[in-house]
Subunit: 98 residues, 2 copies
């Protein structure tokens, strides 16, 4: 999942989908600095990570976020946050003893 979101183009795509809702490839490609094909590939990468889903609708393919996986991802992020909290606590204690 981190790898999927690690590319700036892909992160932007997820961002747009989360704020603007379902969008077609053409729409998502419009103001992108890369080709439509590149966008398609990125969307498929995101789909591979389960973060996004595309459904054919007439002649266009509409992409949207995948709620289930997104929830799971959220959960994972929270877990990591907790793990980090512990580490941050340790670091703070360490700094104070210096």
């Amino acid at each position: 999942m981190f790898a999927a979101l690690g590319d700036e183009t892909r992160l932007r795509l997820v961002g747009r989908l989360s704020t603007e809702g379902p969008l077609s490839i053409a729409r998502l490609s419009e103001d992108a600095p890369v080709t439509r094909q590149a966008i398609t590939k990125h969307l498929e990468a995101l789909e591979g990570a389960g973060l996004v889903r595309g459904t054919k609708h007439g002649r266009e393919r509409i992409w949207d976020l995948e709620p289930r996986r997104l929830m799971a991802a959220r959960h994972a992020l929270e877990q990591i946050s907790h793990q980090w909290d512990a580490a941050i606590g340790r670091l703070r204690a360490f700094v104070e003893t210096e």
Copy 2:
């Protein structure tokens, strides 16, 4: 940051540092499937993302998590979670109307 954590080796490194505390390159390389040099590169990549910091201590270089950035990262993750929450709400509503 996502890119930094997007590599499995790097994610493992962060995981070890968060649970085992400060470690030298040699330690971190011991049970890794790759060379010490590869580990060094990954640590420097993580350092570039600000997630980790290495300080020389005698003949060895000890690496540890960077609390400030880690907090910032936590914050960013929470922001994204919130953004996703809104999207998930929208998606749920959409499903219900079908």
